[in-house]
């Protein structure tokens, strides 16, 4: 039997070369057709430290994460390189040997705990399962002991009652901590965490991050923390690797990477992240990352890079040291300046008359009451942010204002005129005056309609514009959102997420509304695209004298877009203040908690 026994003393392993931590060299994962999804990936994670792996969607970060567990998604295979853990190359292990490693020496914390936990099994049993499966310890008593310990380590109650609960009886944060307990239960040498806090609220997120950091040090294990969120990664990682279009473009200790990036992409990424501390203008990155198979032969960032010279297109530059512990894949790394951060003009909300007035609004879904008699004024020409966590009722409020939720009581008025609740009861003028941009650009555009058809629809329905005049105005509107007018003939599935959201903005603005309701419009987008979109909205607010209600869960983003902030908690507004005052002098305990727990890049 050549099966590696993971519980055997470390010195007994047959393929051991050197001990401690993780070393990845030249990792390449490709499709069956031989197209590289990630290639030339080198990573080092010393035991007891956390390496943050940052990348935007499609960069291959999850592919790298699963490759470290010796697996790939269907249709992909590990085509080259080595993954050395405790001196053993995981890529040379057989499927049977790998199965012995997974869950015992290498473990995984998934993004969504609700689908990762078995809903029909008590959580204690689920922790116990991984111990039984790998014959942990000397016997049943030792395993029972370890289950209790594991719960304690992640800050969950250690009494038997909690272990007997089912996943649905736990909160999202508790569920994710159970997943972390499972991952750390067998004292693994490597834990891969794939966006473990993306579905959680910020307050819960900071608890989970603390837990992971503490456990990594306690257990002396190597951890790879995968995320799209540079701010989150920078709070937990000792070192950060930035992944772009399938290869690592920069690797450095966290502080250094954020404050002195040496790759143009990292530098631009830092500039695109909304920040709590500064009133700075967000700067996006033009263009999009090339997909596998369409990557340029040279530096992959070259087409979008402002520093690019002819030589950049001639071959993929190597990842070379540019300073102590600092590697960058750029021939012009010496010329990369720290993210150029422009201060945003501090703008105070004009004490104008309210365009939208909400008074004593309550809303329900059947018997469940979501909003409890809240009042809010949105002054003309300003952007008011509606900040709240999931379940706070922010989307319900936005939808009620837009006439999409009718089960409500109270008063809504637009420019002094009372608004009925359902859009069908409203006049054509009011329907045109309030426009709505939805959260998810993948479901807000009808896949069977061309972009031009979708954008022109409000104009046709609400203003009765038809024929050549309609085509002309659709073309104009597409130009204004920086998509050229030939996009009118395309279908949504030919567009990237950022482009779709621009189309949605164009559709909202074409009927020349006075109030634009934006419901989490950037939450499905990458930060570099988010920055572009926020800039676009800001531009329209100035040019069209638009009034904005900007619904978001991201307090850092609020500082960058809004003049006034209403903080929503459990269906009631707990604080409503000008943006500057909210950040410098928060009054409500909940606001203070939000400010304290939100990860910050520049801190």
């Amino acid at each position: 039997m050549s099966v590696v026994d993971p519980t055997a003393p470390l010195s007994d392993h047959p393929r051991r070369m050197n001990a401690g931590g993780l070393q990845v060299r030249g990792l390449r994962v490709e499709t069956r057709a031989g197209v590289a999804v990630v290639d030339d990936v080198d990573l080092d994670v010393p035991a007891g430290t956390v390496l943050g792996l940052v990348g935007e969607s499609g960069s291959g970060k999850t592919t790298v994460g699963t490759a470290l567990l010796g697996g790939t998604r269907r249709g992909l295979r590990i085509a080259g390189g080595s993954v050395l853990l405790e001196g053993i190359d995981l890529t040379t292990l057989s499927e049977v040997e790998l199965r012995g490693w997974r869950g015992s020496r290498v473990s995984y914390v998934p993004q969504d705990p609700t689908t990762a936990l078995d809903p029909a099994m008590r959580v204690g049993k689920q922790v116990r399962e991984v111990l039984d499966c790998h014959d942990y310890g000397s016997g049943p008593d030792a395993r029972a002991q370890r289950v209790t310990e594991a719960f304690g380590e992640v800050g969950l109650p250690t009494d038997g009652e909690f272990a007997r609960r089912y996943p649905h009886q736990l909160s999202g944060g508790q569920q994710q901590r159970v997943c972390i307990a499972i991952a750390f239960a067998t004292w693994p040498a490597l834990v891969v965490l794939d966006e473990p806090t993306t579905g959680l609220d910020v307050t819960t997120q900071s608890l989970v991050l603390d837990t992971v950091r503490k456990l990594t040090q306690q257990h002396g294990c190597a951890a790879l923390y995968i995320s799209h969120d540079l701010a989150v990664v920078s709070t937990i990682s000792d070192e950060v690797a930035v992944l772009y279009a399938g290869s690592v473009v920069e690797r450095a200790p966290t502080e250094q990477l954020v404050h002195r990036p040496r790759h143009p992409y990292t530098s631009r990424l830092v500039a695109a992240v909304p920040d709590l501390a500064g009133r700075r203008a967000l700067t996006g990155i033009p263009g999009g990352a090339p997909s596998p198979g369409a990557r340029p032969p040279g530096c992959r960032f070259e087409p979008r890079c402002t520093l690019a010279v002819d030589e950049c297109a001639r071959g993929l530059p190597p990842l070379v040291p540019v300073a102590d512990d600092h590697l960058a894949r750029c021939i012009r790394s010496a010329d990369v300046s720290p993210a150029e951060v422009r201060d945003r003009d501090p703008e105070v909300g004009r004490a104008a008359d309210p365009l939208l007035r909400v008074e004593g609004l309550s809303a329900r879904y059947g018997k469940v009451s979501v909003l409890h008699g809240l009042s809010l004024d949105v002054p003309r020409g300003t952007c008011v942010a509606l900040l709240g966590e999931s379940g706070s009722g922010k989307t319900t409020l936005a939808r009620t204002i837009a006439g999409l939720h009718r089960d409500a009581e109270g008063t809504l008025s637009l420019a002094g005129e009372r608004l009925p609740f359902g859009s069908h009861e409203r006049t054509r003028q009011t329907r045109a005056a309030i426009a709505y941009v939805f959260q998810n650009p993948y479901s807000s555009l009808n896949p069977r309609r061309t972009v031009g058809d979708s954008v022109g629809r409000p104009l046709r329905v609400l203003r009765g514009v038809r024929g050549a005049e309609l085509d002309r105005r659709v073309g104009e509107m597409l130009d204004r959102v920086y998509l050229s007018s030939h996009y009118a003939q395309r279908y949504p599935d030919q567009l990237s997420g950022g482009e779709r959201q621009r189309v949605a903005v164009a559709r909202a603005l074409i009927s020349e509304p006075t109030l634009l309701v934006c419901d989490e419009i950037t939450s499905a987008l990458d930060v570099s695209v988010q920055a572009n979109l926020v800039g676009l909205i800001e531009e329209f607010r100035h040019e069209l004298d638009l009034t904005l209600l900007f619904v978001t869960h991201d307090i850092a983003l609020v500082r960058n877009v809004a003049q006034q902030v209403a903080v929503l908690q459990a269906g009631a507004i707990v604080e409503n203040a000008p943006t500057e005052r909210l950040f410098t002098d928060p009054q409500h305990a909940y606001t203070r908690e939000l400010l304290e727990t939100t990860p910050n890049l520049v801190s």
Binding site: G284, P286, F438, R448, V481, D493, Q494, E499, E539
Partner: protein, 299 residues
Amino acid sequence: MSALVPPAGDGGVTAPVAGQTPGLLRRSLATGRTRAGLAITMLVVAVAVVGPFVAPGGETAIVGPPNASEVPGLLFGTDVTGRDVWTRFLHGGISVLWLSALCTLVGVGAGLLIALLAGYSRTWVDEVLMRTTDVFLAFPAIVLALLFLAIFQPSAWTVILTVALGHAPRVARVMRSAVLDVAGRDYVRSAESMGLRRWSIRLGDLLPNVTGPLMVECGLRLTYSIGLVAGLGFLGLSGLAIDQADWGLMINEGRTAFTVQPWPVLLPVTAIGLLTVGTNLIADGIARAAAGTDREVGE
């Protein structure tokens, strides 16, 4: 700000240049399953459609002794009353075909209408419609058909309506869940916020986005229709003239003499069997293409 936003929009590199992703039908045609189904179906349809024109004799002409399997000049012998089996077979397919096609059309159409009405009403209308279909679902389709044919005089139209009545609640159930799914999408909300009438949302936003399951239903119901129509023909309830050739009827007439003259049964049974398998393969191919079962993962 404007200087920072690209003129071509972001993702210009990744956006495909060619037209929209190929339609469901074309995608399903790429699979061997659908092609095989289509080939089989076309073969049987060709026999049924071209058959009456190339048949050697009249469909009711008596050309030899009854139940003779070997008559000189006749390919498959004679049937129970001495008519040419081959001629009867070539003439007997067209009735099964057009009856099943119409049954499918009416049944799926009615089901779709109920589904669009119920799935996007969010009121008691939904409850009433769906509970009513539940009642109909409690009876097997053939029992329902027999009941109605016992009450009304069997004719081509009563056959179509009764078989369609069996289909409608089943189609409605499947299509309603498809409609419900689409009705929850934001583009429907967007249309609502423009104050569009419910029926224009049903036709403009909901219907175009449920064509996938709709096509699957069409294929599936066509398969069932063929079986039911042939079955009713076997029972002599297809509303056709007594001596008119019909595959279902042929099986019934020929079954008593099966041991001496198997052809009057074998020919139509094979044809109906092939047609059913063929349409089912197509339906399955479309369903797989719609669900993306055969799609390559990882580009």
